[in-house]
């Protein structure tokens, strides 16, 4: 089994807020991230696909296929956007790094033509990242 990873970057803004919490609770739980005007990050996404090598090509999948899929499904949706307001999945849940990783999995898993989606890793900063393996 071979694991192939492709990386992509996007920049977006977000803030954390739960309408069921009081303003005081929101500030306590989410701290600086609760600023309703939002703040931003440069995100890095790593998509890892597992599969067996095609003996003719020596490849698990055509990387260009993965690059295009990432661009169409994730980058166009999230790059230079305000995630809470412009990405439907985050209308009612916080665009935390955890939820972004799960959402990217849900966007890509049904559309991957070759190989099996193994892992989505999302870096919010160089010092914070989340891994999701689909369950």
């Amino acid at each position: 089994m071979i694991y192939v990873t492709r990386r992509a970057e996007f920049s977006a803004s977000h803030y954390y807020h739960n309408p069921k919490f009081t303003p005081e609770e929101n500030r306590r739980v989410f701290g600086k991230c609760n600023n309703p005007l939002g703040h931003g990050h440069n995100y890095t996404v790593e998509v890892t696909v597992s599969g067996v090598m095609n003996p003719t090509t020596g490849m698990v999948l055509d990387l260009k296929e993965l690059k295009v899929l990432l661009e169409q499904e994730v980058i166009q949706l999230m790059d230079h956007k305000f995630l809470n307001k412009e990405v439907p999945a985050f209308a009612e849940k916080n665009p935390t790094t955890e939820n972004i990783a799960v959402e990217i999995w849900n966007l890509l898993a049904p559309k991957l033509a070759h190989g099996k989606l193994h892992r989505i890793r999302v870096y919010e900063t160089a010092d914070l990242f989340v891994d999701y393996y689909g369950e």
């Binding site: 739980v29 849940k93 935390t96 955890e98 990783a101 989340v130 891994d131």
Partner: protein, 148 residues
């Protein structure tokens, strides 16, 4: 189950030496790291916790709580310290980065799993870079095969 990893840095000194070996054997096994005066590294620590996402917050665990626990239990104990002399547990074992990974795992496991009990939080991995050219990971039995 989502795996969240946070990176931290600390600097510490150590010497690799085993009293059970002869001076000659120590030099052969540990090489430059056996220098009696010790030497130091800038360590990069990665702490991975696993849990379910709390639907109210979208989070697996509160990051400032994670930072607080790692600072109190690990960074304050290790940063700018001599691992052989300042750490109780390294008087009897060699402070290799392998042992340090396991030691940090033991220091963090109970406080993190207690604090994150509501999300079924578990400490899934401790990874340490001793330099940018070598790294070590400790993955407990129950998380093996799940984190990569």
């Amino acid at each position: 189950m989502v795996y969240l990893t946070r990176r931290y840095r600390f600097s510490a000194g150590h010497r690799l030496h085993n009293d059970a070996l002869s001076a000659e054997e120590n030099r052969r096994v540990y090489g430059k790291c056996n220098n009696p005066s010790g030497h130091g590294h800038n360590y990069l620590l990665e702490v991975t916790v696993a849990g379910t996402i709390d639907p109210a917050t979208g989070m697996v665990f509160d990051l400032s709580a994670l930072d607080g626990i790692v600072a109190e239990r690990v960074l304050e104990k290790l940063d700018h310290k001599n691992l052989n002399l300042d750490m109780e547990n390294f008087r009897a074992q060699v402070p290799t980065t392998e042992n340090l990974c396991r030691e940090i795992y033991e220091l963090l496991r109970t406080p993190l799993e207690e604090a994150g009990g509501a999300q079924g939080l578990e400490l899934a991995r401790v990874r340490l870079e001793e330099t940018s050219l070598n790294s070590f990971e400790y993955v407990p039995e129950h998380a093996r095969g799940r984190v990569m």
